[in-house]
């Protein structure tokens, strides 16, 4: 488990450095997804399986899809067919694939050998998180709900076409 932690940390740092140095936004998003998956594995090794799942579903799933959606909507390249060909060049996707294979190997290693008892850190069960969320932090949940509503209304208002 210690090896898994440090390997994921290395993958996270490498892919995050690559995120901010890419020229093409889609390449940066590929590395960003790898970085989020690496942090999800780190959460799992720290004994937070629920947060690891949320990281994959909400961050790597929903938020990154939003980014890709906007980049596609902008249709930045005028010669989009030419650009598509450039995106599919092996030199561009081999880096994310290698890092993803490292993460996948860690995943299978943990599934095949590790049990939930062998996590480093003190595991916190999802039940404890839920109980704390809806008792101690109930006010925070209400505020986050209002924040999400404000985000929805704001995005709708700003997303309207300019007159």
């Amino acid at each position: 488990m210690t090896v898994v932690f440090y390997l994921s940390a290395a993958v996270a740092i490498i892919s995050t450095v690559l995120v901010i140095t890419r020229l093409h936004a889609v390449h940066a998003l590929l590395y960003m997804i790898i970085s989020l998956l690496a942090v999800a594995i780190i959460f799992y090794t720290l004994g937070a399986p629920f947060i690891a799942a949320l990281e994959v579903i909400v961050y790597a799933g929903a938020i990154m899809v939003l980014f890709i959606f906007v980049i596609m909507m902008l249709n930045l390249g005028h010669k989009s067919v030419e650009q598509e060909r450039l995106i599919l060049r092996p030199a561009d996707w081999i880096g994310p694939v290698v890092l993803a294979v490292v993460l996948g190997a860690e995943f299978f290693y943990m599934v095949l050998t590790g049990t939930p008892q062998s996590v480093t850190g003190n595991p916190v069960e999802p039940q404890a998180v839920g109980a704390s969320l809806y008792s101690t932090y109930l006010l925070g949940v209400e505020l986050v709900g209002m924040l999400l509503l404000a985000g929805l209304v704001g995005a709708y208002h700003l997303g309207k076409k300019l007159k």
Binding site: T16, I20, M32, N122, V124
Partner: protein, 102 residues
């Protein structure tokens, strides 16, 4: 934590945050700036979870969920602004939008 000292987790969070901050300061493309903000928020959440795991308390994970919801709201508004800016200026360079007159 049994094997991993808390400092290493916090160090990782600090390094990720610094990379995000560097990206925010260096890049002028607004999509990359938003991505850097996501990196920084994620690093802050990692610090919360590391600290929560050190003491076996659920509070760190609860805070991570709040950060997650905040990041989702922020990115929705931010990307709507990106679309608006691109319609107006036909570029993603933030320096082109340096005047505040609507």
């Amino acid at each position: 934590m049994a094997n991993i000292p808390m400092e290493h987790g916090l160090l990782l969070a600090g390094v990720l945050f610094s990379i995000g901050l560097t990206g925010l300061l260096v890049r002028r493309n607004i999509i990359f700036m938003l991505l850097s903000i996501e990196v920084m928020l994620n690093a802050a959440g990692l610090a919360f979870v590391v600290a929560g795991s050190r003491w076996g308390a659920p509070d760190g994970q609860v805070m991570f969920m709040f950060i997650l919801a905040m990041a989702a709201a922020e990115v929705a508004v931010g990307l709507a602004l990106v679309l608006q800016m691109y319609q107006k200026y036909k570029t993603l360079d933030v320096d082109s939008a340096s005047k505040m007159r609507g």
